[in-house]
Amino acid sequence: MAGTQSPRSDPAAGPAADDDRRAALARFLAEASGAAACEITGLAPLSGGSIQENWGLDANFSGGRLAGEQRLVLRAAAMTGVPSSLDRLQEFAVLQAAFAAGVTVPEPLFASADPAVFGKPFLVMRRAAGSAAGHRITREPALDPGLPRIAERLGQELARIHAIRPPRPDLGFLTPPEKTGPAPQIAGFRAYLDHQPAPRPVLEWGMRWLETHLPAPLPPVLCHHDFRTGNYLLDGPSLTGILDWEFAGWGDPHEDIGWFCSKGWRFARLDREAGGIAERARFYRGYEGQSGTIIDPARVHFWEVLASVRWAVIALQQSERHISGGERSLDLALTGRRAGECELEILMLLDPGGCPANA
């Protein structure tokens, strides 16, 4: 998640290393923008971003296409790579495609895989104002009156993303659509669970249901694959950016709709089914109006069940990042216990009558 949250200090980077890195980055930015020179006036990690690391980057460009003071974000891979996410150069290409399609995203500016510049691959984009914090968005009374309109707008944004369709040579690195459908996803979840220290009977039961209710494939569209509250920026009542494109890929449009509406992403407002911010109908209206297509509720239901399985698996993966030693983090350590919440949701979605009596 990027935003204008206060940069916090970075105790890991020593002053000397920091100076070298700034100098190399300044040279890169000057050259890439056609400026005579570039001075970095601020570089500090932004809060948020559980998988990628985001840096607030303030720079003063002497000439070139970005002449003047600029507030930017530099996005690099965090220390533990999570499988199946795009690298920064690929994410940059997806951002460019979305930007060109009229999606509200921070304008992507540069990307580089040269380790001499920042030590690891990164991309640079403009810094949009606002906050993405899901708990705050769903709790703050001042935001409340504007949220239904935001939900409708998000529906329109999602429809613009889904208007990007293959063939797209610029997105040729994306996994072919036939390998990204629900069946390969289920196979991936099962393979992951087979290596877990504990069995998860509810997830197995949910995946069996999914496997026996696969919807007929639709023509693939570009899915964001993490389109949800927590991944868009609100500046007061205005939507300023859709963030975190690292999981983008071809898929069924209902996949993103199910993910957005799934209970795991409603934060403080479980009762508001569209991302904890509005009724589902308002979000659907925005989507249907922009796309000219009708959302199929049965398909959304399927993908919402899959969303709960996927979130449970991600929760287990997150806690594994802590358990297996990569990252010491209370937040990650506690995330694994959220898998139980997903399991309850799977039961509620597939067995609305509740626990069988007398069984």
Binding site: R200, V202, T212, L334, R337, G340, E341, C355, A359
Partner: protein, 158 residues
């Protein structure tokens, strides 16, 4: 039995000191971490106090596979984590584990349930299917009573 106060009471005290005495003294940007620590302590508190529900679920699971009631005390002390297969006994073929009549430990039975649900083993028997589903509900509710009782309540489960 250990010393007094027992673990749940000791953890409750630690959480109280953290939230009420220490947290107000912390700078604003570190308060979230303190709240996460308080949440960890609360989970440990509930887990330390909660072996009974797990014992019941495992007896049900055993009955599901054996079709006969085991003696009520057979699995006393089986914690939810051990039942869910997180205990160290999983790969040891059951040494020191709670065993069913056929020699399957609590984690082994849970594995068996998971494996059989994956292949739809109960789908031809409405009675077996409903009983398996009931175990899933009880297991999930027991898990959330420990991990996140507020989420359980927010979804209408007491």
């Amino acid at each position: 039995m250990g010393d007094l106060p027992e673990a749940p009471a000791l953890l409750a005290l630690a959480r109280d000191v953290l939230v009420n005495d220490l947290l107000p003294l912390l700078p604003a940007e570190r308060r979230l971490d303190a709240r996460l620590v308080a949440n960890c302590i609360a989970i440990a508190e509930r887990e330390a106090a909660a072996d009974l529900a797990a014992d019941t679920i495992f007896r049900e699971l055993e009955f599901f596979y054996k079709r006969e009631r085991p003696s009520p005390s057979r699995f006393a002390g089986a914690s939810l984590s051990r039942i869910a297969g997180e205990g160290p006994e999983r790969s040891e073929g059951g040494e020191g584990a709670e065993h069913s009549e056929a020699g399957e430990s609590a984690p082994e039975l849970m594995y068996r349930l998971a494996r059989e649900l994956r292949i739809g083993a109960f789908e031809n028997s409405p009675e077996r299917e409903a009983r398996a589903r009931a175990i899933l509900w009880r297991l999930t509710i027991a898990r959330l009573r420990l991990a996140n009782p507020r989420f359980l309540a927010a979804n209408g489960f007491a």
